[in-house]
Amino acid sequence: MKIVINQLEQIAGIEIYPIISLLIFFTFFILVAYMVMRTDKKEIDELSNMPLDNNNDLQNDDNQQI
């Protein structure tokens, strides 16, 4: 581990790496946005209805496990 640390210590301007990370985020964000835009409308509807669809068909079995 020490060897690795010593190596990294030598890197000139290691502070640049925050800027790189901002770029990573930007790229990542564009990628996610692109993937989301490409997603099919039907699938989105299906997904957004997921919390709703077991509203009515639930049965109560008087505390009996099947």
């Binding site: 990542f28 993937m35 989301v36």
Partner: protein, 706 residues
């Protein structure tokens, strides 16, 4: 295709709900006690386990981990099986999770008031309990992931992504922040020191807010708002962007807790930039939640559940706007160390977290007990009392924050501090503390109405343990799928992706701090603490002094004028753990020991002040610590402390542990004799002398070298 029948077990949801209700009352009651202690400082009297600085962690931890934690566990155990069309993977793991978590809470309540604390805010638990937390957290996570693997639906709804991100990130944060070397069963020293320790702590602390108080509650929001309003979320596409942007950005924001501190500028700048960027995903989430209710506002007027959700999400929007503003350096220069922060976090907890919990429980209890809510009217009253209570709590504290900060910064025309006596700035804002206690009382009364209402609701119904449902078996993955659809269908890959996303931010910030020596310029005059000072420091940590006294002088003229030269990173290199603090209810102590500074106090003053602060300054709101003059230092542990410190890199010479006790006693005798000569009868090996030794050491290294 043939449908498969299966049942949901509501038992653990029910357990977690009642734990939320019970611990919620405890958390608020302790908070209220703390609020009253600030206006009646002698309330705790000579009872050590009731003193403000020891019960404040009980309050914060109970609110975060017991009240909010159990609340979102209830949400997870209810929503996950229904979204995934399968029962939770293992009942045994669920039980271990539930009982283990409650045990942790009880252990926290049994350790903090008795002075067992690591002094890292919201991570004060001592190391054996930390290990228990990690084990229970792993059981909880495995149960979730295995449930995901067993699911009958193809895709995973967005609420569950938030649950997964919560689990994975808290695991990373908690472990990294708690790495320490044990000295005894109840004491350990963190492997990080000073400014590095502070960075790790606030990387954790801020992300505890992000991933314990925000992401799981957003999961709750994405499930329960559509469910209760019976309409799908406003924009599912927005929720995907919301999720990824939020977890990516949040992890970077920690350094905004350390602005103008000795943290290197580049790290501070990163914290600010990412904090400001956070407005976008946060508000995306808020808008998504609120707009789900478009066209359903008539329901909101009638239904206390939706009302609670609306105020909850609105409070989320307010505090996520305020947060980025507070992280701007100019605003932070004013707000930091004041009650402004306290007001800000209570908009988050009392507004966002608690309202979401209340709403969810008002909706779930009638469902689980097959009945109607006992009294809608009472729930509406609770809604109003809680909303007013929150405002009465926070608004006075905003005023207190501005007022005190402005007083600290004010100079006379001659160029002197307008309020050189710190106490003046405290007495000025005391009326606001009374109002805060009033607001807290209102909120607490509301919570009692809530308990009564849900209790009566449960009593009039009968608990429905099992519910049956049916669904088609899971279809095989479609090889043609690509992109995000594919990722969503694969929980393990998804978890890893979330982990990678949060690690990027964490690593970029923290690794350079460790690698680049220039980040922490060494100061040759800074020497390790003497054994007596080290003992005193441990007492300072155990008593929770850092909760009201900072040790971080920012480079502002008013602060250097009041407290002395600003704090440098190199001065903190032997501080395991760091003691910067985050709030100045009392003055900064970073240079308490420097004799040439205007606020220097002699040993006898410190002695009398700790025994009874009001005797020394009648208007002081500091509680008394008379037990320090009775409790004795455990000299048998001193050599181990030295040994562990040396392992951590503090340059005590080899074999010094054998001489440490003798050195300690020599320094003790010097201070004790001084006290005795000024008429104070102090016994042998008393904690108070170690504490005085520590206070008199603070900040002196840099001055002595001049």
């Amino acid at each position: 295709m043939e449908l498969q029948k299966f049942t949901y077990d509501n038992r653990l949801t029910n357990f977690f709900i009642w734990a939320t209700v019970g611990w919620g009352v405890v958390a608020m009651l302790v908070g209220l006690t703390a609020a009253f202690e600030l206006i009646f400082p002698n309330m705790s009297g000579e009872i050590s386990w009731l003193v403000f600085s020891r019960i404040r962690p009980v309050h914060t931890n109970a609110a975060i981990f017991a009240f909010v934690g159990n609340g979102f566990f209830a949400a997870i155990y209810y929503s996950m099986p229904r979204l995934l069309k399968t029962p939770m993977f293992s009942k045994a793991m669920g039980n271990i999770h539930f009982w283990g978590w409650q045990l942790i809470i009880v252990l926290a309540a049994l350790t903090y008031p008795f002075g067992f604390s690591q002094s890292k805010e919201y991570a004060e638990l001592i190391w054996p309990i930390d290990i228990l937390v990690v084990l229970i957290w792993v059981v909880f996570g495995l149960n979730m992931i295995m449930t995901l693997v067993k699911r009958r639906v193809k895709h995973i709804y967005v609420a569950i992504w938030f649950y997964i991100a919560t689990w994975v990130t808290i695991a990373v944060l908690y472990i990294v922040n708690n790495l320490a070397i044990p000295v005894t069963w109840t004491l350990s020293y963190p492997i990080y020191a000073g400014i590095q320790d502070a960075l790790v702590q606030w990387w954790y602390g801020h992300n505890a807010v992000a991933f314990f108080l925000t992401t799981p509650i957003l999961g709750m929001m994405y499930y329960f708002i559509p469910k209760v309003a019976n309409r799908p979320i406003y924009s599912y596409k927005l929720s995907i962007i919301h999720f990824w942007a939020l977890i990516f950005l949040y992890i970077w924001a920690g350094p905004h807790h350390l602005l103008y501190s000795a943290l290197p500028d580049w790290a501070q700048a990163l914290g600010v930039v990412f904090s400001v960027m956070l407005i976008a995903p946060s508000w995306g989430g808020m808008i998504n939640g609120l707009l789900t209710l478009r066209g359903a506002w008539d329901k909101v007027r009638e239904d206390p559940v939706l009302k609670m959700f609306v105020v909850g999400v609105t409070a989320y929007g307010m505090s996520t706007f305020e947060g980025p503003m507070l992280s701007l350096k100019t605003v932070n220069a004013l707000s930091h160390f004041t009650d402004w922060t306290i007001a800000h976090v209570h908009i988050g907890t009392l507004g966002w977290n608690a309202m979401m919990n209340f709403g969810m429980i008002y909706w779930l209890i009638p469902k689980l007990f097959k009945t109607k809510l006992f009294s809608v009217k009472l729930a509406n009253i609770h809604f109003w009392i809680a909303t007013l209570g929150m405002l009465f709590f926070s608004i006075p504290l905003y005023f207190a924050g501005f007022t005190q900060a402005l007083m600290w910064k004010e100079f006379t025309a001659e160029g002197f501090l307008a309020y050189p006596n710190f106490l003046e700035t405290v007495t000025q804002i005391l009326p606001m503390y009374y109002l805060r206690a009033f607001g807290g009382t209102l909120y607490f009364i509301g919570a009692l109405l809530f308990v009564y209402n849900v209790w009566k609701t449960a009593a009039q119904g009968s608990f429905m343990r099992y519910e049956s449902d049916e669904a088609a078996p899971k279809a095989l993955p479609n090889p043609k799928e690509s992109g995000h659809r594919k990722l969503e269908g694969r929980p393990l890959q998804f978890t890893v992706a979330a982990l990678v996303v949060i690690l990027i931010g964490g690593l970029v910030e923290i690794i350079p701090m460790y690698l680049v020596k220039s980040n922490i310029p060494t100061i040759s005059a800074v020497k390790p603490y003497t054994p007596l000072e080290l003992e005193g420091r441990d007492i300072y940590v155990a008593e929770g002094c850092y909760l009201c006294h900072s040790q971080m002088i920012r480079p502002f003229r008013n602060e250097t004028e009041r407290y002395g030269e600003y704090t440098k990173a190199g001065e903190t290199v032997y501080d395991h753990p760091f003691q910067f603090g985050s709030k100045r209810t009392g003055p900064d102590l970073a240079r308490a020991g420097v004799k040439t500074l205007p606020n220097y106090k002699p040993d006898s003053w410190h002695y009398n002040h700790m025994i009874n602060p009001q005797k020394v300054s009648p208007e002081s709101i500091m509680p008394q610590y008379p037990w320090l003059a009775d409790n004795e230092i455990d000299l048998s542990v001193t050599p181990d402390k030295i040994r562990v410190m040396r392992t951590l890199g503090v340059p005590y010479p080899e074999g010094y542990e054998d001489k440490a006790v003798a050195d300690l006693q020599a320094q003790y005798a010097e201070i004790a004799n001084g006290l005795r000569s000024s008429g104070i009868d102090v016994g042998d090996n008393k904690e108070i002398v170690a504490m005085i030794a520590y206070l008199q050491r603070l900040g002196t290294d840099v001055y002595n070298s001049k």
